[in-house]
């Protein structure tokens, strides 16, 4: 069931996920288009997430935006009053103003090389966050040796969370480690099923990445409604590899699926293995937290295979 409407306010709106937005030509959504999106959200009980560019919007837009309950996803450069702030690695290292008391969610978009060489900086960043969502932007390029390195990096990140716990009363959340501990079922991105994106051209897209990649690949508009063909294929039930999987925190990125396997319902080997390395690291973390008396009723079972594609149903 649809729950969220993501509104890209501009063609240069910040990417908060795997896709890269290299657009530098500004195209602000028309005010009427913005209003139509908001009206659509109100009629369908959708929570709106506005995705901002890195410049101040005209006052007239701010007024319209404030007419509905919403979240603001903003780039680091405009982080005031954001619900979600998006950083790149360089920005994360340089931002010394952060403190744990801010309830903002931080998104850190990072390449594998940056993470592998700079994981200590990431730990430092994590310890100053309330919730950090780490997005590795090039998981599709992972090779076997990258998986080995990622496993080691996860182990370092995993150790940082109990350490942070010692320093504070509550634990910082790191999506790739703490989410799996809390989840009892799949909690994927669910683009096209639970959320839909309104682009600056006034049309719907499965997610921002689909718009950035191909503007012609639209999926309706607020006046005519959502038109996603074969929409069932975006659901978990129609994803044979994923529906038997318990890496519940996995983004199951539809856009990456399509890019790597040519099918929206089939993840790549790389997406599966990274998610499983995270899942297994979450298990290690949970065991450590059990020893400290946390989450006594949670359990993540031990598995040896890192790619559910290789399991037989």
């Amino acid at each position: 069931m649809l729950q969220y409407l993501i509104i890209l306010l501009d063609d240069t709106s910040v990417s908060f996920c795997h896709y890269r937005n290299t657009n530098s030509n500004r195209r602000l959504i028309a005010l009427d288009g913005l209003k139509a999106g908001i009206l659509f959200a109100m009629k369908h009980n959708l929570m709106v997430q506005f995705v901002y560019p890195d410049y101040e919007l005209p006052e007239s837009y701010a007024t319209v935006i404030e007419s509905i309950d919403h979240h603001k996803i903003k780039p680091f450069s405009l982080k005031e009053d954001a619900s979600v702030v998006v950083y790149d690695y360089r920005e994360a290292v340089s931002d010394q103003t952060l403190n744990r008391n801010e309830k903002t969610t931080l998104v850190l978009r990072i390449t594998k090389d940056e993470l592998f060489s700079g994981y200590e900086e990431v730990i430092h960043f994590l310890k100053r966050s309330n919730r950090l969502s780490l997005v590795i932007t090039d998981t599709d390029t992972f090779r076997k040796e990258d998986f080995d390195t990622y496993k080691k990096v996860l182990s370092h990140l995993e150790s940082a969370i109990p350490e942070a716990l010692k320093e504070n009363d509550d634990m910082p959340q790191l999506n790739i480690l703490s989410d799996r501990i809390q989840l009892e079922k799949m909690n994927n991105c669910n683009a096209g099923v639970e959320n839909i994106t309104l682009a600056p051209n006034g049309k719907f897209y499965v997610c921002p990445a689909f718009y950035i990649e191909d503007e012609n690949d639209s999926a309706g508009n607020p006046a005519e409604g959502i038109t996603i063909s074969n929409r069932q294929l975006y659901t978990l039930a129609y994803a044979p590899v994923c529906r038997k999987c318990d890496a519940y925190h996995c983004k199951r990125c539809i856009w990456l699926n399509k890019k790597t396997t040519l099918e929206v319902n089939t993840p790549s080997h790389e997406q599966c293995v990274t998610a499983h390395l995270e899942r297994n690291a979450s298990r290690n973390l949970l065991n450590e937290l059990h020893a400290k008396g946390f989450f006594p009723n949670k359990e993540i079972r031990e598995i040896t295979c890192l790619d559910p594609f290789e399991w037989k149903e």
């Binding site: 063909s229 074969n230 294929l233 129609y238 044979p240 590899v241 790597t260 396997t261 040519l262 099918e263 929206v264 319902n265 089939t266 993840p267 790549s268 080997h269 790389e270 594609f309 149903e313």
Partner: protein, 396 residues
């Protein structure tokens, strides 16, 4: 007669060389929309494909292998094929490859140049490792309705003259017949005609494309019932096989236990003249009306395993509508993954085309009639038990 067992079925890797996209014929029902005379496989591409496949025994770890040669018409490229087969044999042996003990070369030909000297030399050289199927559609009228030269002339006479030689070299050779809407009135007489030519196994199927018209299913059922009567009347059931009649079809299928994909796309591998790999030849551009080719790699860089995952993860229920899943006569209802992809409303292999639905149901009714009538007859004559055990085996 039960269907002859396919050599190493399930244990063999099928590797298809699309050696040419040219053909002497322009069959009306042919799914190859992009045939042309330009795309002939260069030797270097074939060699690179073979080296890539034989180098990687981890990926290609099946016990046996079938090298398929298709076109267009494969025998138009007999010199290339001969060179490819020689290279394969030498490489398998030189590398101590396990496939040296279990390989076949397989051809589907229109039969027109079967008698050609070069083709015959090739056949004699590789006879123990060959399987060749000649496509002949039935009576001259039925065959020439579809299988015509570019000039419009029918090809029946040129094919039929080669049937005796083919059957002499491949006793028990099977033919493949394709049924489209205009062919329906000719089914019964065509199958009987093929039996009369000495062909004892007729593999016949309706095209998967959406070509069917109102009333076709009724006419189809009538033809099959007429054919059933003739096969039983003439007692051909013990010696001749027509794939329309099979005991296992027309039953409901369990959602979990019988959830396998029908089509083998993805288990197979096809390579074209440009050196691109496909999960099956039906995903090459010349086979597709509306979709882009589904390339899974090339001879230089190899196969991208991620591109194969959707094919190998595919199951029956995920691609089927509830109507198909719950259908009470669903067993034996076939599909072609390539046609599904081509007909789908998005570029996916996960949307099953149901164009064949009414034809399958008509087939099931006629098939039920056939087995009920045959078993009653055998029961009456006291021969039912004996018949069930009749299986034609190949003794080597």
């Amino acid at each position: 007669m039960e269907k002859r067992k396919v050599w190493q079925e399930g244990a063999a890797k099928n590797i298809t060389f699309i050696v040419t996209k040219d053909c002497q014929l322009v069959c009306k029902y042919c799914y190859l929309v992009g045939k042309n005379i330009k795309e002939r496989m260069p030797w270097e591409v074939a060699r690179q494909a073979i080296d890539y496949i034989l180098d990687d025994t981890e990926q290609f770890n099946e016990r046996s292998v079938v090298f398929d040669f298709i076109g267009g018409e494969p025998f138009l490229e007999i010199d290339l094929i001969d060179r490819i087969c020689d290279y394969i044999k030498c490489q398998l042996f030189a590398r101590n490859h396990p496939w040296f003990d279990s390989y076949r070369f397989n051809f589907s030909t229109n039969g027109i140049n079967y008698h050609d000297e070069k083709v015959q030399r090739f056949i004699k050289k590789n006879l123990r490792h060959l399987s060749i199927g000649i496509t002949i559609d039935g009576t001259p009228a039925k065959h020439d309705l579809n299988r015509i030269y570019k000039s419009g002339k029918g090809s029946y006479n040129d094919v039929a003259k080669n049937i005796p030689l083919w059957l002499e070299q491949f006793p028990g050779g099977a033919t493949k017949v394709t049924i489209s809407s205009p062919d329906i009135p000719y089914i019964k007489e065509s199958v009987l005609h093929l039996f009369a030519l000495g062909i004892t196994e007729v593999n016949i199927n309706c095209v998967f494309e959406d070509v069917w018209r109102e009333g076709d299913d009724t006419l189809f059922e009538e033809q099959l019932i007429g054919l059933a009567d003739e096969i039983i009347e003439k007692r051909l059931y013990g010696t001749h096989g027509c794939s329309f009649f099979a005991e296992h079809i027309g039953k409901p299928l369990d959602r979990k236990l019988q959830n396998q994909n029908w089509c083998g796309a993805g288990m197979m591998l096809a390579v074209d003249a440009a050196g691109y790999f496909y999960p099956c030849t039906r995903f090459a551009q010349y086979s597709l009306r509306d979709k882009k080719a589904r390339i899974i790699g090339n001879v230089r860089e190899g196969i991208d395993p991620n591109k194969l995952r959707p094919f190998l993860a595919l199951d029956r229920c995920t691609q089927s509508t509830d109507e198909c899943i719950d259908c009470e006569v669903s067993s034996g209802c076939a599909w072609c993954q390539g046609e599904n992809y081509d007909a789908a409303c998005t570029p996916t292999i996960y949307q099953r085309s149901t164009a064949i639905c009414r034809m399958h149901k008509a087939r099931v009714r006629a098939n039920n009639y056939y087995w009920n009538k045959l078993y009653r007859k055998l029961e009456t004559e006291g021969g039912r038990e004996g018949f069930k055990k009749t299986v034609v085996n190949v003794i080597c």
